[in-house]
Symmetry: C2
Subunit: 479 residues, 2 copies
């Protein structure tokens, strides 16, 4: 170190470490040397190192993890940091009927078609899931518990699974006893049951804009109106806008994905969570919380659920193991608070119960299968996948394109140049066996016509790389 | 034979055969000797034997089966033959809202509780089902097709299962290609999807009176009104009354169980089926056909489906393998004709898809598991169960009690003396760990307050016998 140089020591140190990161000596997720080690290695004081590390944190290059040290963050491209969020205007649109909203069935089928490069649906690839282990557990359970696995297990459903959920609820920041849960056919059915319980046809529900089309499909089926409140990739649902809406008009519920929301990837700040729960309670509006991505955080602790802040029984928590274990097992759950009885009645009427064996298998995996170990590897995989995909998209697309930088989950939200019609792009890409999710599916009135969601649930390969290049060519051609 | 006696020969022969049947030499379901054999054995002419057999048919002791011969019918007790049917009055009630109709959750849970004598729910006992074979097939499929069983298989769902359904549809009197089916979470979900597709909240649907509470639960959830048209244990839905209703008012659908309807056990005559399908087509009213008991006929050929007579695509056929293979697998189907796209959309929105492994396992069983062999034994079992239960009820209950005599399925409908409140009986029986289904659950306005449905799905045992005696004592005590 040049102790005589005009540049302060901590700045020189910071620049040097930034250089090491940019040259790949430290890669995203790596722990950098401790303050004490760096102090010794570079012969500077501990406080100088601390100043340098603080600066690198401000530059969003590294981050501190409590009791663990400093780690290299994933790269933020210029695209992400300049991403304009739709929330800026804070314009509150009128509630819209979803009577014309329908599932895009080509998309539904392409995302499970192995002939396609599948970036359209938010499904994890079977290659990253513990399929063999699940199959073994299932075979053994079916053999041992033959009678109970061919018999019905009416709602609330599989006791052992609900017991495991109860244990896991401690990680969500609360304790929910087993009887607070109802087993559902995936989180989709949980959301369907939640919306059925709190809203009647014709009533209005607040959703995030953009939000995933699963929710919009359900609301269309149930004859509900959607009031799409702006959300940002950094903080999720705009609380100021939500407050304004609640003051102005009667709504039956707020549907929100606080943890790595689909498609934006936002993680709602803790302070916003408390404010939202309180605001909803004041207006006596139930919150439907979709937490399917909560286990897929890249850093630190698992984010809490809104349910952990619920004091009035008016948060309906929905989740599943479709993003982390087996989408095809269709094992989801709802903890519906005050609406529990109504949810059980609807579930009983609708399809009586789920196949008990699937929930039993997931329960066994949660208990003895090494779920936490699996999650650690899955989070690493998805994080890498997102990094690779962002880089590839940044290279293939025009410079104006903006891409989110989520800290959990496995989807990216891409804002294309305004001239690009994402639905036309979807159809062009389809002809080339590439599946993407066009933006107009993510809101009731088709606002996001030049946006697309890219799922990174399937493993990166040359084929995926080629597909991204092709997408880039199609976008360039549309300009 | 006394050729000189004043009694005609054919009458002597008929009496003698009746005696043999009553002494158990020929048992229900047995084939009796052919006309030619009997002619030789008794040294009478072929025409005398034919006259005797015709008489025995009139006495409802035997029945002719085309190209097969004559068979002993199941016994009809005095109770059954005098059963007054609720259809006699032909009174057509006004449509009723089902907003207050809710599942009787105690019943739902008691019927899967092994501590109970379970005569309440229409579930077959695991003891009569091929659970081990299914588990083995499933384990092998999960191992071989690991990736596809943990992945989603969106609606219409499992191709192999739909192919097997298509093959089986030949037995139903029609040919439905695989793409005409959607896989559902049991027949309950099929009915939910069917009713969602054809009727909006507030609209009116014709149902049979009595009908099973599954349908009423669904209609309550969907906000539909029920117009309960009388049905009889012999012929099912009263066609004259149905015609009158259709002429008078607009209805959105007719829900009917033509094959061994639950709870009456009726099998709709072929001529009525044709008339009903034609009548509905003339009035442009879709028919929702629930065929879960079709494979459980005791005699002759499998009865056809209404769908076989459908020329306009307006019959929505619903079924499952919950009554014959595994209730807990939740493998059902719908073939929705003109409403197919709408059903797929709703299914996709509601819970995206079913666990593919369950349908795959049923498909494999249908293809290579010996389903027909299993059905033959299951039909025999249920027939014997019904005979034992009818006898036990007849002994235990007051003489005025009337009991149906179904020729398929495994439920009995029992009319108790008018003073008996079946809901009170349900609660009294519950205290003694006996589960029955009280009659008021089988209609929208609670008409059948002194009726109950008794399921014979669980194997006869001394414990069941004791429970029936206890029920009898409770009924006597209520007089």
């Amino acid at each position: 170190m040049h102790t005589e140089a005009p540049t302060p020591l901590y700045l020189q140190l910071a620049d040097r470490i930034e250089e090491m990161i940019s040259h790949g000596m430290f890669r995203p997720g790596d722990r950098i040397p401790s303050v004490r080690t760096t102090s010794t290695q570079h012969q500077v004081s501990v406080s100088t190192v601390l100043q340098a590390y603080t600066l690198l944190e401000d530059r969003r290059l590294i981050e501190a993890r409590p009791k663990s040290g400093y780690y290299v963050r994933s790269p933020h491209t210029a695209y992400a940091s300049t991403l304009q969020t739709p929330a800026v205007s804070r314009r509150i649109p009128p509630a819209k009927s979803l009577s014309r909203f329908a599932p895009l069935m080509e998309l539904v089928h392409d995302v499970v078609n192995p002939d396609f490069v599948r970036m359209g649906g938010a499904h994890p690839s079977p290659e990253v899931l513990p399929g063999r282990k699940l199959s073994r557990l299932m075979a053994s359970l079916a053999r041992q518990q033959n009678f109970s696995t061919i018999s019905c297990d009416p709602a609330p459903g599989c006791q052992r699974f609900r017991t495991e959920l109860s244990r896991r609820s401690l990680d969500w920041g609360c304790y929910l006893p087993p009887d607070d849960f109802v087993v559902t056919n995936g989180a989709t059915e949980a959301l369907y049951l939640a919306l059925s319980a709190v809203a009647k046809p014709g009533e209005t529900v607040i959703i995030e804009s953009p939000t995933h089309y699963g929710v919009l499909n359900i609301m269309s089926q149930l004859g509900l109106k959607a009031l799409a409140v702006p959300a940002s990739p950094r903080e999720g649902l705009d609380l100021q806008a939500t407050r304004t809406v609640l003051q102005r008009q009667r709504v039956s519920a707020i549907v929100v994905v606080p943890n790595f929301c689909n498609p934006l990837g936002s993680c709602m700040p803790e302070v916003n969570r408390a404010a939202l729960v309180q605001m909803a309670a004041e207006h006596e509006v139930p919150i439907i919380e979709d937490d399917v991505y909560g286990d897929l955080h890249f850093e630190g602790e698992r984010p809490r659920c809104l349910k952990a802040l619920d004091r009035t029984g008016s948060v309906l928590l929905c989740g599943s193991f479709s993003k982390t274990l087996a989408p095809g097992y269709r094992v989801g759950y709802i903890s519906a608070g005050n609406f529990q009885d109504r949810v059980i009645q609807t579930k009983t009427a609708m399809n009586f119960c789920n196949a008990p064996l699937m929930a039993l298998t997931v329960a066994e995996f949660l208990r003895n299968g090494g779920y936490e170990h699996h999650l650690r590897s899955l989070r690493r995989t998805f994080r890498e996948q997102l990094i690779l995909m962002r880089e590839a998209l940044a290279q293939a697309m025009p410079q104006r394109v903006k891409i989110t930088d989520p800290q959990g989950g496995f989807v990216l939200w891409v804002e294309l140049p305004q001239q690009v019609d994402a639905l036309a792009l979807f159809h062009e890409a389809r002809k080339r066996h590439i599946s993407i999710a066009p933006g107009h599916l993510f809101c009731p009135a088709g606002e996001y016509r030049h946006h697309m969601r890219i799922s990174c649930g399937h493993l990166w390969s040359d084929r995926v790389g080629e597909a991204v290049k092709t997408l880039g060519q199609l976008v360039h051609a549309a300009l």
